[in-house]
Symmetry: D2
Subunit: 198 residues, 4 copies
């Protein structure tokens, strides 16, 4: 169903895989397997994802060092699956003003230590809508290769993560600004589509 | 001497104050008093700075919550000195890839909770030259009101903090990009001066 | 083989389970399944361990709050397996003097919030032989229900974790002291066996 | 007045010094100067305390590494004041079940790296009465040279820190147990006095 909806709109399907047994079922349905922070060191799962040939988004563990994160990626790469994308989603800290502490310094550090693409997730990284746009812009400015952002047509009725989901017009403004920042750095973000999907 | 050099070039003097006794000596020499992270909760010092009428740059303590940081500012404000500038300079974390963990989410949080200007210090926040420019750009993109950046004509011979000091041409490139990012957000950075000082 | 060695000496077998597929193989061989810190939030694994009827030792995740740790235990308990033992093994911190930061305050907190037994692992918690005995004594004094300690007849040749393994005579001295501390608190540790195994 | 009350009961006076100017006033009134966690890196204060000849209790900073703590002690020692006592009072962590995270592994680490005496403060370290006694026992068991514990005849009416203050009978039980633990380690705690003051 998710697959059908995506196909109807020319979108890709990203879904979180939480156990080895789910891989065969998901293989034909998703375009990208996401490994959550809690499973970053689930080595059985990582090894099995090394055996497939679909891209894997590997979120950083809640208190993983950058080195441990890159090591976890090696478990997938070692199996011959070279399509690994890293995702900074915030680490655990002592302040409660944000849900996690989005560590944007990890982006240039990863860039220096590895050839892997790395994106940022300011939605889970902050947990509050008001902070998503500023940190999304900062993620592009720091050199991230992409963003994972939650948007919802009616966030107050979202079944999950509503408080951190952007309204569609916030998303539009954000993407316009991100395009300028990316261009400043000599990079390119795909142009806005006619149907408003960025 | 520092004062003379500054006057000769039309610059301001910022210097760190570490003890109450230093205030009267510094009062005529500096334009802005900096309180370092280690003294963020030195209440005797903060109270005394509340009694003067020069601006104070208050760095965030190494493991201070944002609330504690704003509370520390109150010690200065309570004395009637309203010119307080906050400075995010990185907090203590478990990863050793950077000297501190520059917490850029603190900038929009401070903006929401307070009217005080807040700047970022990516030089001390990262401790390595290669990471300063990306995080400086990110600081502007996240909404910081200013940057504290170390630049040196010959950083390899700097008497302190050389490894985190930018080369002059790195600084020029950085400032050009920061101007574009700031403009994107509807803000303005002072134009480049003829003598190359930004 | 591990099973045979244990039976020959009247010992129990504890082994770490890292994936759901390993459970059926291990079921007849081990007396207690250990879930490591990296898998504390591997919910697929936890749920499966809820379906068996052998005790499970659940280590605290590297940056898990005490509440998250108790919630993880609920995944096992919810399946009807009531034999869950919690194990404090140290959390991630900023100091590098010890491998992890053994959080002994977690023991009385768990005691207040839950009825589950909780033990401490000062070997992994500190990573250095010299610190194991002091923190093992402290664990008993703080109210832990047991200890997980590495001992080796020849630690310098141990295949893993040698630097944190006690020499046999250190272990004997430690256990004598722990018995006195336990008795002081009105608790009992099983008496020393004739063959020196405590 | 504090001095008079102490003399009348044969007690010593410990008081916190927060600024250089307070030292001369306090010099004849207190037996031990306490430096709080917030001032651990107030170097002007430390240097001045190096010039006096009364003992100084140096609390560990909220996120100070053990090395930084020992370095701070050097500022006092360098002035010729050799009477420095270190005090572990808990570091900042991500869990909110306790006020701070009492790091008991710091005690044996300090013992190995330094000759200075080191005590523990489970009252500020935990912030809750129920956790003070377990962690006080653990502090003695781990090798601390002393304890800093808050006791109050009527904690519910205490002007500060009531929730973490022990009732007198809790204190009596605790001290009896601590004496046994200390004896087990070949150490001695002064015997109970006739008037109940331990």
């Amino acid at each position: 169903m998710l697959r059908d909806a995506a196909d109807a709109h020319g979108l890709k399907v990203v879904s979180e895989v939480m156990a080895v047994e789910q891989i065969p079922v998901m293989l034909d349905l998703v375009d990208l397997f996401q490994v959550g922070a809690r499973n970053m060191q689930n080595y059985a799962l990582l090894a099995e994802l090394g055996a497939i040939r679909k891209p894997v988004l590997l979120k950083r563990g809640m208190s993983a060092t950058i080195e441990e994160w890159l090591m976890a990626a090696e478990y997938i790469l070692a199996g011959g699956n070279t399509q690994v994308i890293l995702c900074e989603r915030g680490i655990r800290s002592f302040d409660t003003q944000t849900r996690n502490l989005l560590d944007l310094s990890s982006i240039p550090v990863v860039k220096r230590l590895s050839h892997l693409p790395v994106i940022a997730d300011p939605s889970h990284g902050t947990g509050f809508r008001d902070y998503v746009a500023p940190l999304a812009r900062a993620s592009v400015a720091v050199g991230a290769d992409g963003l994972l952002i939650e948007v919802h047509g009616d966030p107050d009725r979202a079944m999950s993560d509503g408080p951190q989901s952007l309204y569609p017009d916030q998303f539009t403004t954000l993407m316009r600004r991100c395009r300028i920042i990316a261009t400043t750095l000599g990079r390119r973000i795909a142009p806005e589509r006619d149907d408003g999907v960025s």
